[in-house]
């Protein structure tokens, strides 16, 4: 199978502190990868690097996505190429209507593909299907983007956006944090329904709990800015039982 994302020798820093100290990772279409590790190990930073967060400074290494050098691309170009980040802390944007925002994003994608933009009627239809697929109520759409949303609502809104934008590679950054079990299940169901043989997921999480619902093909343990060990889903269970210290992290 062809390589979708390829990271080699990646080093990165935030506000002058070295966070990633040489990371290698390969993700192929159809795969689900889990990235685990203790707090401060650099998990979220890796998701930020892939999506192009300007707060991260890359000091070495390369990141390729379907043959393109990601590091040279603007964040919106990466998004249009098919990378989606479900944020750990989705930002509130007062005044901007959620449905209008989704249509802007959807039409930006269509424009990039040389297609005509979807008109509001047409988009309503698309939105209705997607919304039902990921169990989100219509009331979500009338509100401002994430504004006044509870933690759980914000995470669901991220999954709704993911459903609409149909990314090739979805980065789920601590999507389980702040969710109770029912909300977690619902969010995971949404994510699983979007799974196809041609797309892939990188699930960043501190706890094994989420992986009961989004089952990974590969698990990587990140510690002190390096991938300490990779394995299958049993590695996550092992970590759950024995903690990160067991790995010498």
């Amino acid at each position: 199978m062809n390589r979708m994302l390829e990271i080699r020798g990646l080093k990165a820093r935030i506000a002058g502190n070295d966070i990633l100290k040489g990371v290698d990772l390969t993700i192929r279409a159809g795969e689900t990868h889990a990235l685990m590790g203790p707090n401060g190990s650099g998990k979220s930073t890796l998701a930020k690097v892939i999506s192009g967060d300007p707060s991260v400074e890359i000091t070495a290494g390369e990141v390729n996505f379907e043959g393109h050098n990601l590091l040279e691309m603007e964040p919106e170009a990466r998004a249009l190429a098919g990378i989606f980040l479900a944020f750990q802390y989705p930002v509130e944007i007062p005044g901007v209507n959620n449905a209008a925002f989704l249509r802007m994003a959807y039409n930006a994608q269509r424009k990039a593909r040389g297609q005509e933009p979807a008109d509001p009627m047409e988009f309503d239809e698309i939105l209705k299907l997607k919304r039902e697929a990921v169990e989100v109520s219509a009331e979500f759409l009338d509100r401002a983007v994430n504004h006044g949303f509870s933690g759980g609502e914000k995470k669901r809104n991220e999954v709704l956006q993911m459903a609409v934008l149909e990314p090739k590679l979805a980065l789920l950054d601590e999507t389980d944090s702040g969710l109770d079990v029912d909300a977690l299940r619902s969010v995971a169901r949404g994510v699983n329904r979007l799974k196809t043989p041609s797309n892939a997921r990188l699930v960043v999480t501190h706890y094994q709990r989420l992986l009961d619902y989004i089952v990974p093909d590969f698990v990587h343990i990140l510690a002190d800015g390096r991938v300490l060990r990779s394995g299958d889903k049993t590695l996550a269970l092992e970590v759950e039982k024995r903690g990160y210290d067991w790995l010498g992290a």
Binding site: P54, P75, E76, L80, V91, M104, A108
Partner: protein, 483 residues
């Protein structure tokens, strides 16, 4: 950090596209201020005696007044002797019978500004009075309006053709000595627009005035008077631009509105005077304007909507005197300041009649090193039983070096009145812009979207086509977020 903020500011600092100057053969100009200047203006315009008397009285009072300094603004003293008080392009000096006689250069100027005046290209459904420096160049759709009984013409023409209406209402809302700049305007104003809507008439189209300052060092002192009789309605819009000059130009206008019983006036402004150089603050218009409406009649309504994007300094408080019982005053404002711009703007709602209501929605956007101030008075007089006011003042800050200030004045003397004031402050953050980008939306579109979301309460008060103009003025696209 600094780099990032400059990038954010770039998104709101679009180039001023109306900064060109029209080359015309210079006509009559009068520089410096004295009684002779005033006598010249009045004689040149062949005004009746009451006008000259009015001007001279205002001038003599002005000499005794001090320039106000209470606003939260900083600027060098103005040399009133260095200002050109009358500038008339030669081409506009003679009285024209039809638009065909207007200098093509002038027509081209207005066309470039998006205000076509010729018969073939006139804006459908909008009558325009175009004012260039000190004189009115043309008024479109005059005949069609006359059929409906509506008078829409330049102020000079009104003085000649309808002196009785002018004499009755001139300075009935803004006394000649109301404030320093109103007194100056009363003494030297050159032209402006005049609207009269007789009773039981709904004005059949939008009325619009377009102001253009072209001559360097010239001041623009226009006077607008709108009188709407019982049960009538008018919607009026003004726009304005000026070329880029390194020197400041003074714009001191006076606008008076009178609404009788059940009458309604909707007055919208899209102000885009040259703001001066964003980096050095050189040049730009000093926009010192007195606008006031009087809800003289029962159940009358005056609604001000303003989108202030230009001028080096803006000092204006479009106000409503709510004299008639059950009358309604509204003020909707967006003020955008970037670079070194300063704005001190707001409103006064004076509740005098019973059950009068007012609404104030002010949205200030400040970026760069700009300063944006809301200043508003809500006054409920003793007899204003059951008066209601609601005020909302929101500030949006873009970047760490700008200022946003709110100065409300609430003065209440009636126990049955209800007055509420709310203010909030927010910002556009890098995190928000990145969130948009991560969804494939460019920073420019993200900024538009956020600013439009912030302003939509005001934009939706503008007449349809001008709402679009306003958003373009802010350098924005509406893309789905408004409406």
């Amino acid at each position: 950090m600094t780099d990032k903020n400059i990038r954010i500011e770039d998104l709101v600092n679009r180039d001023y596209q109306y900064g060109f100057k029209t080359e015309l053969e210079p006509g009559t100009t009068v520089q410096g201020l004295s009684e002779d200047t005033i006598r010249f203006i009045s004689a040149h315009k062949k005004e009746p005696k009451f006008m000259l008397d009015f001007r001279l009285k205002a001038y003599r009072q002005w000499l005794k007044m001090k320039e106000p300094r209470w606003a939260h603004l900083q600027y060098a003293p103005i040399d009133y002797q260095n200002i050109i008080y009358y500038a008339e392009p030669k081409a506009a000096a003679k009285k024209l019978k039809s638009l065909d006689e207007v200098d093509p250069e002038l027509l081209r100027t207005f066309e470039k500004l998006g205000i076509p005046l010729t018969e073939q290209k006139k804006l459908a459904g909008v009558a325009v009075d175009a004012i260039f420096d000190s004189v009115s160049v043309a008024t479109t759709f005059k005949e069609k309006l006359r059929e409906a009984g509506v008078i829409f013409c330049s102020f000079s023409e009104a003085v000649q053709e309808h002196p009785e209406i002018v004499e009755k209402y001139l300075s009935s809302v803004v006394p000649a000595t109301d404030n320093f700049f109103a007194a100056l305007n009363s003494a030297v104003f050159t032209d402006g627009s005049f609207v009269y809507v007789p009773r039981d008439t709904r004005c059949p189209m939008e009325l619009s005035s377009y102001f253009r300052i072209n001559t360097e060092n010239s001041g623009q002192f226009e006077r607008t008077l709108i009188v709407v009789e019982e049960n009538s309605h008018v919607s009026y819009l003004e726009g304005c631009t000026a070329p880029k000059f390194d020197t400041h130009q003074l714009h001191a206008a006076v606008v008076e509105l009178v609404a009788l019983d059940h009458a309604e006036i909707k007055y919208s402004t899209v102000q885009n005077w040259y703001a001066g150089d964003p980096a050095t603050g050189k040049g730009g218009i000093y926009n010192f304007v007195t606008k006031r409406g009087k809800c003289a009649g029962r159940r009358s309504k005056i609604s001000w909507t303003q989108v202030e994007t230009g001028s080096a300094i803006t000092w204006k408080y479009p106000s409503c005197i709510l004299s008639g019982d059950d009358s309604v005053g509204e003020f909707y404002s967006v003020a955008l300041t970037t670079g070194k711009q300063q704005a001190d703007t707001g409103t006064k709602m004076i509740h005098i009649g019973k059950n009068t209501r007012s609404t104030i929605v002010s949205k200030g956007i400040s970026a760069g090193q700009a300063s944006n101030n809301y200043r508003g008075l809500v006054q409920v007089s003793k007899g204003a039983e059951g008066a209601r006011n609601f005020t909302q003042c929101d500030s949006l800050l873009i970047g760490p070096n700008c200022g946003a200030h709110t100065f409300p004045y609430i003065d209440l003397q009636n126990a049955s009145s209800q007055v509420e004031h709310e203010a909030t402050t927010s910002r556009v953050s890098e995190d928000q812009l990145f969130y948009f980008q991560q969804r494939g939306i460019s920073k420019e579109d993200a900024m538009s979207s956020i600013i439009n979301g912030f302003c939509k309460q005001v934009f939706r008060e503008l007449p349809g086509e001008f709402a679009v103009e306003a958003t373009q003025l802010l350098g924005l696209k509406l893309e789905g977020t408004v409406g």
